[in-house]
């Protein structure tokens, strides 16, 4: 991946710490990610990957350190970045009783997005035909497709992706690749933070790799310099 040295930093973390009670879920993470770059966050279960995503998404406050997202200091200026972030987490953030279209319309209204964009996104993820069915009746893969549509609905500048290809069949994987992959919008490349349990795939589409073990950053390097075998150590 070409490292855009001239681009302004999209993420700046300096000694960011987050605790849950006495336990440190993140212990002093520092990095800089430039606009348009992709950061792959790797590590085993409980490594702090989701906590990092929630911090970047303004859903958690750091307990120490400095955190700047899209030029705004968090948590003080969270209001300035909300609406510029698209977050795809384990939870699809969709109401089960509502249809895919109703869910996306709800999110569109919260983001000031016009209605035609909803249909456009449903078509883009291949869910136009089943848009009127309640989410609770859809398969997990279909729910993931709708969740991807929700994530991209407001054309966010920063994508926070937690296992984005989970539950997707290969065809759907290719479909969403065009939407959230590294080259999805060449005119306006998005900054992406990608949590993955597949180190090889994560490294392949990243510019920078962060390896976490029990909240501690044990690896931070350009993707080109990272060996997948070295990363596998994080999971042992």
């Amino acid at each position: 991946m070409a490292v855009q040295e001239q681009a302004p930093p999209a993420l700046v973390l300096e000694g960011v710490v987050r605790r849950y009670g006495e336990r440190e879920a993140l212990a002093g993470v520092s990095l800089t990610l430039r606009a348009g770059q992709t950061l792959a966050v790797l590590g085993g279960n409980g490594a702090g990957k989701t906590t990092l995503l929630r911090l970047l998404g303004t859903l958690l406050r750091p307990h120490a350190g400095r955190l700047t997202v899209l030029g705004s200091r968090l948590p003080a200026e969270s209001w300035a970045v909300r609406g510029r972030i698209g977050m795809l987490s384990h939870e699809p953030l969709l109401y089960r009783e509502l249809t895919s279209r109703e869910n996306l319309l709800f999110h569109a209204r919260l983001h000031g997005v016009r209605e035609p964009r909803v249909d456009e996104m449903l078509a883009a993820v291949g869910m136009a035909r089943r848009a009127q069915e309640p989410v609770k009746t859809l398969s997990r893969g279909m729910v993931q497709r709708v969740a991807i549509a929700r994530t991209l609905l407001h054309e966010p500048e920063l994508l926070l992706l937690d296992e984005p290809r989970a539950n997707l069949d290969p065809a759907a994987g290719e479909l969403v690749e065009e939407l959230i992959g590294p080259g999805s919008d060449p005119a306006r490349p998005r900054t992406r933070v990608l949590v993955s349990h597949d180190p090889r795939a994560g490294i392949a589409e990243a510019d920078l790799v962060l390896g976490l073990r029990a909240g501690v950053p044990v690896l931070l390097a350009p993707a080109a310099a990272v060996d997948a075998e070295q990363v596998m150590e994080l999971y042992r």
Binding site: G28, L110, G112, L219
Partner: protein
């Protein structure tokens, strides 16, 4: 490479702005969007209003047989009415944020460029709608089972008292529901916090209603209306001031 790798770890103290701030959605538009979603979910699941109505009517039936009287009036009737409505309201309060907490609605709202007060307004508005729907069923059932007469000439004043009490119930109920929903014992915590806070509403509503339900119907004393109105206002302001913090991590 270690985490202290200099080339990548070093960061500028101030990052330049990358793009204009996100579009902000107005308070009323966001409130309308959330309330619309609430109504749609309730119409589809029927989780709150039918349960509240059934609870209220069942309670009146139990009172009807337990008191073994053909009718009740005055303060006893008012007490039965308001205690029943209060407990029925608790059913909706306990469920008010459950779908949001379990299905990610909180996160969705926190990620959106909207004033968080929109959630307070929308949820309180939704609870108010549920309460009105409850009372459309419960008041005639109460009259039929326990008054032995129609609500009669005092109906207009009764609606005024009910409206003021409902606003307080909706605001306090929403406030407490947001507090309780993230706790493990939310079904217990909700009523434990809400009921003491609702005592002034119960007092004002019962005392205000009692003359209207007396054998020789009187009129509402203005002081009880003032008490309800003032309590609504004070709690409305408190809830508005602290609601943001309830949603914060």
């Amino acid at each position: 490479m270690s985490a202290s790798e200099p080339a990548l770890v070093s960061a500028p103290a101030v990052a330049p702005a990358l793009a204009p701030p996100a579009r902000r959605v107005g308070l009323l538009a966001a409130t309308a969007a959330i309330m619309r979603k609430e109504m749609r979910v309730e119409l589809r699941t029927l989780e709150s209003v039918p349960g509240m109505a059934l609870f209220a009517v069942s309670t009146f039936v139990v009172f009807h047989f337990a008191l073994n009287r053909t009718s009740v009036s005055g303060s006893l009737a008012a007490g039965i009415l308001w205690v029943t409505l209060l407990f029925a309201a608790m059913l909706a309060v306990n469920r008010l944020f459950v779908a949001d907490a379990e299905q990610g609605g909180f996160d969705a709202l926190l990620l959106a460029p909207v004033d968080r007060s929109a959630l307070l307004l929308a949820k309180a508005g939704s609870l108010l709608v549920y309460l009105v729907a409850l009372e459309v069923v419960a008041l005639p059932a109460f009259a039929l089972l326990l008054l032995g007469t129609s609500l009669g000439p005092g109906l207009g004043e009764l609606i005024g008292v009910v409206a003021l009490a409902d606003v307080g119930l909706a605001v306090i109920g929403t406030f407490v529901a947001a507090l309780a929903v993230r706790t493990r014992a939310r079904d217990l915590i909700g009523p434990l916090i809400a009921l003491p806070l609702l005592v002034p509403i119960a007092i004002g509503a019962s005392r205000g209603t009692a003359p209207l339900l007396a054998a020789h119907a009187g009129t509402v004393q203005v002081r009880w209306l003032l008490l309800l109105g003032l309590y609504d206002l004070v709690f409305g302001l408190i809830a508005y001031a602290v609601f943001d913090f309830l949603l914060e991590d």
